[in-house]
């Protein structure tokens, strides 16, 4: 068992550092993309079309069929994916926390309605419905965000409700109530902070999932407008050049994978740190 904890601890450190570097690095690059690549990745260098990576300093990752710099487009393309991932999760979290707090604290009819609806929603095959809606109604960034938030808020509502149920009868909450602290203050100051751990884990994993979902919808032509640089859109372009210019299709996918891997590593690390009873460790 000694060796067990040893390796677990080594890898936990590794998970955190790698996850933090990957996620943080990607976020930093994307936040700085307007400074790093003021042309938004759309400048065409027609003398250097389909240039392989490593041939010139101007195009370290090569160029696409229109002579646009692949590195610039990957970095700028990250804006869409990260925005969709983060904003959709924030929307879902806000609605989910509010609903979960109300249902768990006040119980009653709200609780019953919420939980029955959550059961239904969790059983819906959302990927299929997403494809159908995007295909029929067309999609843009805000529709995708709204769709994901609507699809996922119940996950947070469930988690928060469960935590509230276990906390509301605790002594410290009872004593706060006996001092005349209002419901809102109790929820906000005494219950929410203790329920936030599982929410953070879920958020991290859902940002990753939503980045994957957005890029696959865009890749299939059902997501972000192809004229806006995005990872899924670049992969759809790169697909036709797989034979002659592999780099057009390799680097955007690598960007998705590294971002998602970073988030998954952080999520795993959070799980171990925030939830000491978790089964995943030693």
């Amino acid at each position: 068992m000694m060796t067990g904890t040893y390796w677990r601890r080594r890898l936990l450190g590794f998970e955190f550092v790698t996850g933090f570097v990957l996620t943080g690095g990607m976020v930093a690059l994307v936040l700085l993309s307007d400074v790093l690549f003021p042309d938004g990745g759309s400048a065409m260098d027609l003398t250097a079309r389909l240039q392989p990576p490593g041939q010139s300093l101007a195009h370290i990752l090569g160029t696409d069929p229109l002579g646009r710099d692949v590195l610039a487009r990957v970095v700028v393309g990250g804006q869409v994916s990260l925005t969709v991932g983060v904003v959709s999760v924030l929307g879902a979290v806000i609605v989910g926390i509010a609903a979960g707090l109300i249902a768990g604290y006040y119980r009653g009819v709200w609780d019953i309605v919420l939980m029955r609806w959550a059961d239904v929603q969790l059983a819906l095959p959302f990927i299929l419905i997403a494809i159908t809606f995007a295909a029929i109604l067309g999609a843009d960034m805000w529709r995708l965000i709204a769709f994901m938030a609507i699809a996922q808020w119940v996950q947070y509502a469930r988690v928060v409700r469960g935590a509230v149920l276990s906390l509301r009868e605790r002594e410290y909450v009872q004593s706060a109530r006996s001092f005349g602290v209002g419901d809102l203050a109790i929820l906000w100051r005494h219950i929410l902070p203790n329920a936030i751990g599982p929410v953070i884990i879920l958020m991290t994993l859902n940002v990753a999932n939503n980045i994957l979902l957005e890029s696959s919808l865009t890749f299939l032509g059902l997501g972000i407008d192809p004229l806006t640089p995005s990872w899924g859109g670049m992969l759809a372009d790169g697909r036709s050049y797989l034979q002659s210019a592999w780099w057009v299709g390799v680097f955007p996918g690598l960007a998705i994978m590294l971002t998602v891997l970073g988030l998954n590593l952080l999520g795993d690390w959070f799980r171990d740190v925030l939830d000491p009873t978790s089964q995943s460790g030693t």
């Binding site: 239904v120 809606f133 795993d268 089964q279």
Partner: protein
């Protein structure tokens, strides 16, 4: 128990109802299919459009259309494709077996890898091997399935020339789509096997089996694995929705002529009866698999159904 069954069944029916309603509503919102059908047909009068609408049954109110669609589905009549009037049921009879084949081959492939790996991870819990398997599974979880598919094509079709890049004409066409899905499924399944095995290995009968001098292999595979079969089947059943979602996307990349490709062709042609039928059938399958999983679990472990 009966109450539990009835509740789950009612819920499943309600979910299918919500799905059909959402799909029918989306189709309805999309604008007038008659205009789209008439595009490129030269001069079209309002009268022609009216005729097309009547021919497609679009002149009836939404409730009538919806009821017609549902009762048709219940009778096995999925309507006719907007494109040339082929029976949708026929299209589905051709596509569904290919989708199921792909789904089950990927699942089988993934179990073949994840059961031994998950068992090893559980036995060596916390040690280097366990941690490496855990890292690998995180990497597997991070692959966008469509990109992994493209990378396999790049390596095995374009660079090495070993496998056909797409289609279902040759048997080898199954290898890459199944491998793509299996990698991603394995990433989750390894964790499920590991978790289920950890719960089982601490049980008393395992100690008894070890104590009576059984070999480690026999203990693990004959006693432990058999006892965690039920939780495993449950977890895997609950992932069926994700599997089908993945199949739909991967089919598209490899031009595998299953339900996914059928759906995307229908999208491109705005062929709504086909799209509607494909989505409804896949959704109903997912809901029924989840229902069956719940029921099996409830039968085996009565604590669940009393909750």
């Amino acid at each position: 128990m009966i109450g539990f069954l009835a509740r789950r069944l009612a819920q499943a029916i309600f979910v299918i109802f919500v799905v059909t309603l959402l799909v029918a509503w989306a189709v309805r919102l999309s604008g007038d299919p008659a205009v789209m059908l008439a595009q490129g047909a030269g001069s079209v009068t309002a009268h022609d459009l009216e005729n097309i609408r009547r021919g497609l049954g679009l002149d009836r109110p939404f409730s009538a259309q919806y009821l017609g669609f549902v009762s048709g589905m219940l009778h096995g009549d999925f309507g006719r494709s907007f494109m040339g009037g082929t029976s949708v049921a026929l299209l589905i009879r051709q596509a569904l077996p290919l989708t199921l084949l792909l789904a089950f081959v990927s699942l089988a492939l993934s179990l073949l890898i994840s059961i031994p790996l998950g068992i090893q991870a559980a036995v060596r819990r916390g040690r280097l091997a366990d941690q490496l398997i855990r890292m690998l599974s995180l990497v597997g979880l991070s692959f966008p399935n469509f990109w992994l598919a493209l990378m396999l094509v790049l390596v095995f079709s374009i660079t090495l020339g070993w496998l056909p890049p797409s289609g279902a004409d040759e048997r080898a066409g199954l290898i890459m789509p199944a491998a793509t899905l299996a990698v991603i499924l394995t990433a989750t399944n390894v964790r499920l096997v590991r978790g289920a095995m950890l719960d089982t290995l601490s049980a008393q009968y395992i100690m008894v089996a070890r104590g009576k001098g059984l070999g480690e292999r026999a203990v693990l595979y004959r006693h432990a694995l058999r006892n965690c079969a039920i939780p495993l089947i449950t977890y895997i059943g609950l992932q069926f929705g994700g599997l089908i979602g993945g199949v739909v996307v991967v089919e598209r990349v490899f031009n595998w002529p299953g339900m996914g490709s059928l759906a995307f062709d229908a999208v491109a042609a705005r062929d709504y009866p086909v799209l509607q039928a494909v989505v409804t059938i896949l959704a109903a399958m997912i809901v029924l698999v989840n229902l069956a999983t719940d029921v099996i679990y409830g039968l085996v472990d009565p604590r669940i159904s009393r909750e």
